[in-house]
Symmetry: C2
Subunit: 216 residues, 2 copies
DNA sequence: ATTCTTAAAAATTTTGAGATTTTTATGTAT
DNA sequence: ATACATAAAAATCTCAAAATTTTTAAGAAT
């Protein structure tokens, strides 16, 4: 059992959830204490994560969690719209019934969670499930596009997007709006209307284009 | 003078020009002999290059130059069209005179080289200049798009594209076609016609969409 | 002849210590 | 007080050897 994979994925998760502060230092030596391995091993993993854009590396001055930057959020949103629209349209063309089934299933799970969160007062324990469900829905949208490169690129953008958004406050007011959005994207995709699908993906993400995405 | 930067950029260049064969192994220990540093340092750099997509890394079985794959070429071309069109259109909107000047200059240099290559029988010694000029032209197209993330992403795709194309045979038959293409992209961009510019970028890259891009 | 074991060789990964660089702290001069 | 130089501390980077894993080779059994 190589501990490396664990360390990699554990750090990845901690970087996307609000465990580290924006801009905080990531010292391999200190992190390595938490895992049962040496600093060099963590250092190597930090390099790999900086490849994903989840960690900033600067020559001779180590690793840091990327700062929160409104402009970066806009850029990431813009690219998500571009890649996710393109990927979804390709999926509509190539995906067939199998893709439609996967998408329906992914949406069913997501909408189930969202409704529960919407109903509850303190949805803290549902957050992790929501994160993974929302990720799965958006990944499923582009899953049949036929381009691993596009999917991989979208994965990076999506992760950085999540990282920028890291929500310490977990009231999730936007959930009720999201329920509508996700449903309307599903409908458009299932109807096969490419332009409508593009529009709805755009609408869904557009609120992050203002630079005013609120964090608390 | 940190040797690291040199090693990084040197390896990067060797990976994009035809110095290594597709699929060949990259052993840190052996590579480190060529540079004045240890295997670990090279290993670290190989990780960074695998972040760029120029090197494949597999757990417990080291680093390799990515195989040549017609399908990957298609995917990369598709993404280049997507990102380069989008970036250029944004540059048209935001770039202003400064961008137009840069683009004109970049095209002037490129077209100068291309004409010389077209005229010559053995253009071997002009290849390096052509590579950097062509890269600069395409980078300049998107340079005023206002999104560092987009530019960075395009840079990776472009590098992988070049790597897939690695031309050992250096007759450059396609150059004469390219002269026309580049000129028509410039014209469209300078005229401010967004759709026309998109079309011409598409046309320029479309020949790589068949999977039939010939290598020798 | 093919498959399965086992042993040797080769390659990859991890590690901790030493070398280098940056940061912080302290003292001195303007 | 501010700016500059120097020294101490801390952090980062490099390295080569040890530990692990994979690959290759040789031999035995079906």
């Amino acid at each position: 059992m190589p501990p490396e994979i664990d360390v990699y994925h554990d750090l990845e998760k901690r970087l996307i959830t609000a465990e580290f502060q924006h801009g905080s230092k990531l010292r391999a030596e200190i992190l390595s204490d938490g895992y049962g391995c040496s600093a060099s091993t963590v250092r190597e993993i930090l390099f790999r994560l900086s490849a994903e854009g989840l960690v900033n590396f600067q020559e001779q001055r180590g690793f840091r969690v990327p700062d929160m930057a409104p402009n970066k959020m806009i850029e990431l949103t813009h690219l998500r719209i571009l890649l996710e629209s393109e990927g979804t349209v390709l999926s509509i063309r190539k995906g067939g019934v199998a893709w439609e089934a996967r998408l329906t299933a992914a949406h069913y799970k997501l909408s189930h969670i969202e409704k529960r969160i919407h109903a509850q007062n303190d949805p803290s324990d549902l957050i992790d499930i929501w994160f993974s469900s929302e990720k799965e829905f958006h990944q499923t949208l582009i899953s049949a596009c036929g381009s691993d490169t596009l999917k991989q690129m979208h994965g990076r953008i999506y992760a950085q997007f999540r990282q920028q958004l890291m929500v310490a406050d977990r009231r999730f007011d936007f959930i009720s709006e999201n329920i509508q959005h996700h449903a309307s994207i599903l409908d458009a995709a299932m109807s096969g209307d490419e332009e409508l699908t593009r529009d709805r993906i755009h609408i869904h993400l557009a609120r992050h284009l203002t630079g005013m995405t609120l964090v608390s």
